[in-house]
Every structure is written in C-alpha cells, then in structure tokens.
C-alpha cells in the first residue's frame, strides 16, 4: 500500500468513525463454534431443549398412546419405523435406551440436540440427515413418547 493511499484510508476511517450513530452492528461478525461439551450432567442424560424438568412415566395411558400414534403416523413415520433402520434409526425400545426427556427434546429441538448433544451428534454422523422439527407442542411430544413406550425393542441382530 502506498503511503498516500494509507493516509487517505486513515482519513476515511476517521470520518466514518466520527459519524458514530449506527453502532448496532453485532460485535462479532461470525458465530464461533460452540465450545466442546458444556452440558450439565442432567443434560447429558435428558438432552438439550425445552424439557428441563423430569417427566414421570406411569402405567401406560391408552388414550395418550392413541393420540401419540396419530401424531407419529403424520409427522414422524416418513423417517422412522419401529423395527428397521429407515431414514432415521428404528425407534422400537427407544424409551428405555433413552430417558423420556431426551426423546422429547429430540422431537422438540432437533437442531439444538444435533449441535450440542454428543449422542445426537453421533447419530447425525451415522444417518447424515438433519432431523426436521415437526412443530409438536411439549404435550404432543409427551403423547408420542407414550406411543413409543408401546413399541418393543427389535430383536438383537
């Protein structure tokens, strides 16, 4: 850079800086990658997302199972089967392998889970598909969990 060009740039910068006013540009231009694991032990077990309180599993509620199955058929079955790997993993026995809160967080905040939770990250590496957020409410996700409880784990391979 020629010295004169440098000086002119300097003046230009000074002039711009002096204008001030519009200083609402974000401080950092890029979002740095999230630091390794900052998850709490609770989050490691129960997942990251809107479910932050324990969910109690009682005797299976048939009414909720019916609701949950209808939701599952509409919003989940395009990618998940009970007993076979499909677009995503087989879900038979998933409640048991995972905490119900984990399953609900995966349903309600798949993007957060894939970015932050080591298990979800691992699954993303296996299936290579970003699981869509299907817009369920926490109550609906709870019904899906109730339905999933009725699906037995596939026989060991």
């Amino acid at each position: 850079m020629r010295p004169t060009t440098f000086i002119s740039s300097l003046f230009a910068l000074l002039a711009i800086a002096a204008c001030g006013g519009k200083s609402d540009a974000p401080a950092a231009a890029t979002t740095a990658a999230a630091p390794a694991s900052t998850l709490t032990p609770w989050q490691v077990e129960h997942g990251v997302g809107p479910i932050t309180e324990p969910v109690e599993l009682k005797a299976i509620d048939q009414h909720e199972v019916t609701e949950g199955k209808a939701l599952f058929d509409q919003r989940c079955a395009s990618c998940h089967k009970a007993n076979e790997r499909y677009v995503g993993p087989a879900l038979g026995g998933v409640v048991g392998r995972r905490a119900p809160e984990y399953v609900m967080n995966m349903i309600l905040a798949p993007d957060q889970m894939i970015q932050k939770h080591p298990e979800a990250k691992k699954l993303f590496g296996t299936y290579l598909i970003q699981m869509p957020n299907q817009g369920l409410t926490p109550e609906q996700a709870r019904h899906v969990v109730e339905y999933l409880r009725t699906l037995p784990a596939p026989p060991a391979q």
Binding site: T4, C19, G20, D73, A77, I129
Partner: protein, 652 residues
C-alpha cells in the same frame, strides 16, 4: 483526460475530503453525501426493516413486498398472473383463481394496492389490488401473503379507479376507465354518446372474513373514471372519483378528450345509495361474473354471480355531485383531516383543492351550474378551498404527511412538490428520475400517516442504472420528508411497473406471519397425511399419485404401470411442520409448471406422458443437505401395456 487518482492528490486534499465527509455527518443537507444517505437506509445484516411496502407490479399482474428504508425485495405475491415457479394458476388448487366471465385469464395489469383500514388507519389485515384489464379486485391475506379471493366486476372495462377502501373497509370501490355499452352489445362505436356508460361499483367487504360481494353499481355518464379516494372523519360516507373525457370522445382522445376547460370529480354519497336501495330504488340487472375464493381447505373455487343491483343518480337525489376540475384530473386525494380533496389535473396549471365543508354548504345553497344525467354540477368557486399556484407540470397524485403538508407528483416536470395545506403555497420541490407517476407515504392516504419517508414511483429510468438492452428497469426512490426540505436517500429497481404502493410499520404484521399450514387441518381431498396413506390408483385413463415430501425423500419414489396418454395427477403433500421448508416437485417435460409446496400443504398438478420411457422427478427447492437425493422415477409404458400399476413405498 486522465482519471484523477489518490496518487496525484496532495495531502491537503485528503484533509479537505475528510472535512467534507465529517460535515456531511451532521445535520442532513439538501445534497446529502452518499455516505450519509447510505447510513440512513442501511439495514445491517440480520437486522430488519422498519416498514413493509407493497408495490404493484403493473403489467406483471402481481404485487411485490419490499422493506423500507432498505428497498430490499422479499417476495412477489402471486395475484393475477400464473406463476410457473410456484404453480400458482397451474395447480389444481389454484387454477380457479383466474376464472372470469371471459374464460381463464392468466394475467392482468395490477395498478393500485390498498391496505384495509379500521377507523381510517391501515390495520394490517388485507391488501386489495385492482386488475385494470379484465376488471377484477383481488384480496390478499397479510398473514400468509397469498391471494385469498378475486372478484370480477361486471358491466365494467378498465377497472382503474380501484380498489380504494372506505374508512372501515365497509367497501372497496371499482370504476370504469373505459365506458362501454352496458349491457355489452354490438353497436356502432360512433353511437358512443347514446350507448356508452360508466359504472361506479361498490364492493362490500365482510368485516370479519374479508369476503367481498358486489353491493351496487351507480350508473354514470360515459366518461373515463380514473382514480378515487374515500372520505374520512367528517367526510366519511363519501367517495371522490376523478373523471376525464367529459367530452365523451371516442377517437384520438389525447386531443379530443382535452377540449373542455374542466372535467369533474364525482362526489358520491354511498350512505345515500344504501338508503335509496333500502327504499327499493335499485334495480336488479342480469350480469355474469366470477367470484373466486380460497376455502378453508386451501382450494380455490369459482362461484358465478348472476345479477347486480343498479342505481342511477336521477332516481336517487343527493347520491352524486360533480365538482368541476381543471383539465383531465388523475388523483382526487382526501387529506388526513377529511376536509380537503386535492385534485391533480394532468394538464392543469394549478392544483385545485376542494373543501368538503364548502361542498356541503354549496349543496345546501343549491350552488349548481347545471345538471348532467341527474348529477348536479356544483359551482367551482363554491367548493374550492384554494389553488396551489404554479406547482409544476402535470400534477397527478397527492399524499400527506399528517403534519399539514401535502406532496404531489408532477409527471411532466418529473418532480415531487411539497405544499402547505393551509396556505396552499409550494414549500419545496425535488426532482424524480424520471417521469414519476404515483407517490406514496406510509399511511399517506389515511387519517394517520407515518410521515417519515416518501416513495416516488417512476416510469422511466433511462441513464440511472446499468443498461439492459431495450427494456430497462423501472424504479422507486426513497425520499426523507422529516426535514423542511425533502432529501433523496435511495434509488432502487422494482419488479414490473411500480404503479402505486402502500406501506405500514412492520410491527403491525410481522409477528402475525403464518409459518406453516397445520397438517392436522389439511382437508384437501388428496392430502397424504403420512406415508401410510401414500400410493397410486387408476380410474380409467386417470392415475392419481398420493405423495408425501419431507427432507429428503418423496413417497412413493418409484412408480410403474403408467401408460402413454394417461393423465397423471401428482398430489404432493409437504408433511414438514417447520418454517421455511417448502419442497418443489417437477417431472421431466412437464407442460404446465413445477410445484412449490409449503409445509402442511397439498398441491396437485397433472402430467400427460407422450412417450414410453422412464422419467425422473425431483425436488426443485433446495431443501436440505440431501436435496440432490430427493428424487424418484416414473415408468411410462405403451398404451395397453400389461405392466401393473405399482408404487414403491418402502426403502428397498
């Protein structure tokens, strides 16, 4: 000549340049420096604009959505023109939107967007726009930014003075730019004076659903009705229409329709019309017109209107008055107080400003020059509030800032003129590049303008942008009107002719934007609410494919047993329930369009294979990392082939 570069400048020059730059940061000056203007229209990445602006597309037939002050284009709403990008007007669910009594009309010339109002202020519920060519009014829903309804206006030609709304959107109006024989029939054109008539149409808008219905038509002399504006506050209950060609010429209008010193603004009392009709003074006349509505199932259907109630000024005294107006007026624009009506005479040397209260007094005092077809012509001086002297050449259209200032576009002298609504004196003027038609201030035609910016809507750009062959862009110019003097900030190209526009603060509608259609409430008869319902069926030569789309596959993805000449209907349901995840659908050689299917929505399109083979279909909207994998095949066999109809709905 050598181009100066920094290399040849002396240090003193830099100091001077920096000082100039610094000076520009202070109080806005007339010729704002580029950086000052830029900072005032700059919306940083990730930040949002302050206003939504809706620009008509003119001959594109659509409406475009922009942000202000940035001038960024967000979306083009599909209204009167087929859109092969989304399938609007091609898909089975949307084709009926473009039905008219003239048949399927897949285009129009859209001129004036108009926001619905409550208490004289834009309420952010609906946007209306007129189809100028095949007379229609469309209503867009501002939560989905999609066209919800189109109603055809019978007994009309060139629906120009439309679709301006009354104070509480009781009505949206329409009028004939071209008077025509009514009812239409085969007559000599030279019989214009006997047979050609005009119609002012009032379309009722349901206050909760927005649904339109033709309430009545007022039969008026065979002039050309151009623009209109509804009364507000004290003048609520009236609508003012401009007209030209009071000569009733039918050849070489550019000369023959400019003979009279004065044409007219028609002041119409619609409450009086309602009263006369209630007294049985309206007559029902046969008419056939299309009324196209999107139902709760998200499917457009056409109902046919069969009659219209007609009323004439002669049978309903007090319904309409003519205000003499110099030389072919264009706009007749009511100010925020509801007292003043500024009329832009395209060939006039002044801007006449009428007074509503004086008009009422003149009616009371019977200050009438003559009566035309039952319409009293009030004396010019008796209704005049004042004249803006020497405003410029070709005044067209006026809007207001709510601070006692009016702004009028000057087509011929290509400028915006600011004047005082008390003294009628010109306060400021600024050039427009070039040939400004309408202008727009957010809410500038309402009782409460957000008088921060003005948009000049220009017809011609000539040397303003990089040239693009014979066809050049049109443009809009953003002008700051907060100071004593107007200041141009930004110049941006537009989609189609930006004939007129409307704008409102983003906060009124941005949080009400629909994100997805609820799959659970998808009642399309061909909806596939989950892969379990996907499949194919044949009924004679018609094959129906019920198909789901989700990141990143179609179900079914392989189809066999289709034959040459079959009509194959693809009914694609996007089973996603996440915002901003539409899926596209297209088969090789489709003769109509591709589809763009919003989350939770079903869209259907027909494909008629013409030769045997195996043809791919795929998602056209880049939806995910595995978008390129989102594909399938359809096998087409010869007519009469024994290949059974099958669809793969498994992974294998």
């Amino acid at each position: 000549m050598r181009t100066p570069t920094f290399r040849h400048w002396r240090p003193a020059t830099f100091v001077a340049a920096a000082l100039v730059a610094l000076a520009a940061c202070g109080r806005p000056t007339r010729s704002s420096s580029a950086s000052d203007a830029a900072s005032r229209v700059y919306v940083a990445p990730g930040e949002k604009d302050e206003f939504y602006a809706f620009f008509s597309g003119g001959f594109s037939g659509q409406v475009s959505v922009y942000g202000l002050p940035s001038g960024r284009h967000f979306k083009t709403m599909k209204v009167f023109s087929q859109d092969p990008e989304t399938g609007y007007g091609y898909s089975e669910q949307t084709r009926a939107m473009l039905n008219t009594s003239y048949g399927f009309v897949p285009w129009d010339d859209s001129h004036h967007p108009e926001l619905s109002q409550t208490a004289g202020v834009p309420d952010g519920r609906w946007l209306f726009i007129n189809g100028n060519n095949t007379p229609r009014i469309a209503r867009m829903d501002l939560t989905s930014m999609e066209t919800a309804e189109i109603i055809e206006i019978p007994h009309s030609a060139g629906n120009h003075a439309s679709p301006f709304v009354t104070e509480n959107t009781e009505y949206t109006v329409a009028a004939t730019r071209f008077s025509v024989p009514t009812p239409q029939r085969d007559v000599p054109i030279s019989s214009y004076r006997e047979n050609f008539i005009g119609a002012l149409t009032f379309v009722k808008v349901d206050s909760s659903s927005g649904r339109m219905a033709i309430a009545f038509q007022i039969r008026v002399p065979g002039y050309d009705y151009d623009l209109s504006s509804a009364g507000k506050g004290p003048s609520h209950g009236w609508v003012f229409f401009t007209s030209y060609n009071s000569e009733e010429a039918n050849t070489l209008l550019e000369v023959n329709a400019s003979q009279h010193d004065k044409d007219f603004v028609a002041a119409v009392n619609w409450k009086r019309a309602e009263a006369c009709i209630a007294q049985g003074k309206g007559t029902k006349e046969p008419a056939r017109y299309a009324h196209n509505t999107v139902g709760a199932d998200h499917i457009a259907r056409t109902e046919w209107g069969t009659s219209v109630t007609v009323i004439t000024p002669a049978t309903c005294p007090g319904l309409a008055y003519f205000l003499p107006t110099p030389k072919s007026p264009h706009g007749a624009n009511v100010d925020p107080t509801g007292e003043l009506i500024a009329a832009g005479g395209k060939l006039a040397t002044v801007i006449p400003v009428f007074s509503f209260s004086k008009m009422l007094a003149a009616i009371e005092a019977n200050a009438v020059d003559t009566v035309i077809h039952g319409i009293p012509v009030l004396k010019y001086e008796s209704v005049l509030a004042g004249e803006v002297p020497e405003p410029g050449l070709g005044p067209l259209h006026t809007e207001y800032d709510g601070q006692g200032h009016a702004y009028t576009s000057m087509f011929v002298s290509s400028e915006v003129v600011k004047w005082d609504t008390k003294t009628f004196q010109v306060l400021d003027r600024i050039p427009a590049y070039y040939a400004i038609g309408h202008l727009m201030i957010p809410g500038g035609d309402s009782r409460k303008p957000w008088g921060k910016y003005l948009i000049a809507l220009n017809k011609i750009t000539k040397d303003r942008y990089l040239p693009t062959g014979p066809e050049l862009t049109q443009s809009a110019q953003l002008i700051d009107i907060t100071g004593e003097r107007m200041q141009i900030l930004l110049d941006f190209p537009t989609v189609g002719e930006p004939h007129y526009a409307q704008a409102l603060p983003a906060s009124l509608i941005q949080d009400r934007q629909l994100k997805v259609y609820d799959l659970a409430h998808n009642t399309d008869p061909w909806a596939t609410r989950g892969e379990g319902e996907a499949g194919v069926t044949r009924r004679g030569n018609v094959v129906h494919v019920k198909m789901t789309a989700i990141r990143s596959h179609f179900m079914p993805d392989n189809i066999e047993g289709v034959q040459v000449g079959d009509s194959v209907y693809f009914h694609v349901t996007n089973v996603e329930q996440d915002w901003d995840v539409p899926h596209g659908f297209a088969v090789t050689g489709m003769n109509n369009s591709e589809l763009l299917v919003m989350p939770g929505e079903t869209r259907s399109i027909v494909w008629v294979p013409t030769k045997p083979g195996v043809f791919p279909f795929y998602c056209t909207d880049f939806c995910s990392a595995l978008h390129q994998e989102m594909q399938g095949y359809i096998r087409v066999s010869a007519r009469g082939s024994s290949v059974p109809l099958t669809a793969n709905t498994t992974r294998r």
